[in-house]
């Protein structure tokens, strides 16, 4: 058994990428950046950015796990693990009591149950035509020229019942928003409508697994208070959100990297 193990996890999502460097059980450093054209390059950059903040070198890292939708682009990773497994593990690191984890990426939304060690016991992902729902937020934000973070507060100003969106494809999100605006519906209500629609789909999804406390929300969506508050309200559960919800996946990957490294050693020692 080696006393000091340094591992790293790299999470390449559809829009953002993160790296976490883990020393034994403490986060040495992390990085969070936008995904560039070349995902392989992005992966390297993410790791380097994280390394810069430390006094260790690339070679000190014993094992690297790549995760996320672009995990196969982390060419230098020793192994790839899905974001589902990683988010559960990462959530468990911050909140050992976590039994339900919700993660929403640009393409897919996932909900999972996990045990006291952060192992996934059940999970669900969105149905075909609900894909990309997360991205509708970005679409709308771009349309209105506001940042994702602004959506929450603006949408929460709205008290009245919001108009219901058709269940049509996210590709129509923009024009549906335009339709509403053209019918004289104020922006914050449109935003609220989109938050409602998104939460609606999240709830449908999360209802297909057991909703066991504690609930952790990770990924970019956790930064959208408009969505988080609504989920908490309709579930009647307080959600945990760590200081940087976007690194949860990368962190989980780093933790799994450590486990895998140890297992490999045990094997080789035999």
């Amino acid at each position: 058994m080696i006393d000091e193990i340094i591992t790293a996890g790299i999470d390449i999502g559809s829009s953002s990428a993160q790296a976490v460097i883990l020393k034994n059980n403490s986060i040495l450093s992390f990085s969070n950046m936008n995904v560039g054209v070349d995902k392989k390059e992005t992966a390297a950059n993410a790791l380097n950015k994280a390394l810069e903040k430390t006094n260790i070198s690339r070679d000190d890292i014993k094992f690297i796990v790549g995760t996320g939708y672009g995990r196969y682009q982390v060419s230098f990773a020793n192994k790839n693990v899905t974001e589902i497994t990683c988010h559960a593990r990462g959530a468990n690191y911050f909140f050992p009591g976590a039994r339900t984890v919700l993660d929403m990426g640009g393409q897919d939304c996932k909900a999972m149950n996990c045990d006291e060690e952060g192992r996934v016991t059940a999970f669900v992902m969105n149905e075909k035509c609900a894909a990309g729902t997360g991205r509708s937020m970005e679409v709308i934000a771009r349309l209105f020229g506001i940042s994702l973070e602004d959506i929450g507060p603006m949408s929460l100003e709205v008290q009245e019942k919001t108009p219901q969106l058709g269940s049509s494809c996210v590709v129509f999100a923009k024009s549906e928003a335009l339709r509403m605006i053209r019918n004289g519906i104020p922006r914050n209500i449109v935003l609220a409508a989109y938050c409602d629609a998104l939460v609606h789909r999240i709830l449908q999804l999360i209802n297909r697994i057991e909703i066991k406390e504690e609930l952790v929300i990770s990924g970019g969506i956790a930064k959208n208070t408009g969505v988080v508050k609504r989920i908490e309200k309709s579930l009647g559960i307080q959600a945990h959100i760590c200081f940087e919800p976007q690194i949860v996946g990368a962190l989980g990957a780093a933790i799994i990297a450590k486990k895998m490294f140890q297992e490999n050693n045990e094997k080789s020692e035999k």
């Binding site: 682009q73 894909a131 494809c169 129509f172 335009l178 053209r182």
Partner: protein, 255 residues
């Protein structure tokens, strides 16, 4: 006598000024979220182009998804009617019209008077619509205009299996990662749209001449692939985006 037609689409707003014989001027502006203002901009631009006063316009026809509240003193017509009238006015022998816009794809056959004989349109799925093309272009880091140019350079045939925009996306990405040539993928994207359009046409008993209009018709590769798809000649107007607006102008006039 002068008339104007304004087509407020999902992506762009088009305005034309026509007299009894020809299109005097046109303009295309992005559809903002205040329809009246984007309509106003488009209209003014067209007027300026034509060098005519607004008051000399006798009739204004509007159409398209935002055509009902343009803030103008105008008559509204459904896009199908406008497509028919616009196509027939521009091409007197037109008997079939296929229109692929940002979101709507529709096909129709006409009689000599421009009355719609058969009509059909796409179902509630983005596949095959302009929006699909736009999404794919952005993944390929091409602007929508360049996608056909890229497709023309394609050497090897490849296909996109999923027509669901979102999943086609991940498919395109994996194709690229597996080292497929960008141009080939661009070609595959165009073919996918064309095949969808061909399917639409097959629903009707189509007759010559077949006019291909709407934003997507600007893509030469799609037009070409559609041609071979249905095994018939198709005509693409110089400015396929304008036909609907022209139809609106004509509809207003002939009322």
């Amino acid at each position: 006598m002068l008339s104007a037609g304004i087509d407020v689409g999902a992506e762009t707003t088009k305005a034309v000024v026509v007299d009894d014989r020809r299109v005097l001027a046109f303009s295309v502006v992005p559809s903002g979220w205040e329809t009246p203002s984007s309509v106003r901009t488009a209209f003014n631009q067209a007027l300026k182009e034509a060098g005519v006063e607004e008051k000399s316009i006798t009739y204004i026809g509007t159409t398209g998804m935002g055509g009902k509240n343009t803030g103008l003193e105008a008559q509204y017509f459904t896009d199908s009617i406008c497509n028919a009238k616009g196509a027939l006015w521009s091409f007197p022998k037109a008997r079939t019209v296929i229109d692929i816009g940002a979101e709507q794809s529709q096909a129709m056959t006409l009689d000599g008077e421009g009355r719609i004989v058969q009509y059909t349109r796409n179902d509630q799925c983005a596949a095959g619509a302009g929006a699909f093309l736009t999404e794919m272009a952005s993944i390929l880091e091409l602007n929508i205009g360049d996608i056909s140019r890229a497709a023309l350079l394609s050497r090897n045939k490849t296909t996109i299996n999923s027509t669901c925009t979102i999943f086609a996306e991940s498919e395109v990405i994996s194709l690229i990662n597996e080292g497929s040539d960008k141009n080939d993928v661009a070609r595959a994207v165009c073919d996918a749209v064309a095949l969808k359009a061909a399917g639409l046409l097959q629903e009707l008993k189509i007759e010559k001449e077949i006019i291909f209009i709407g934003g997507v018709a600007q893509n030469a590769v799609i037009a070409d692939s559609l041609k071979s798809g249905i095994g018939q000649e198709i005509i693409v107007p110089q400015e396929p985006r304008l036909i609907t607006a022209i139809g609106a102008a004509r509809a207003a006039l002939t009322k």
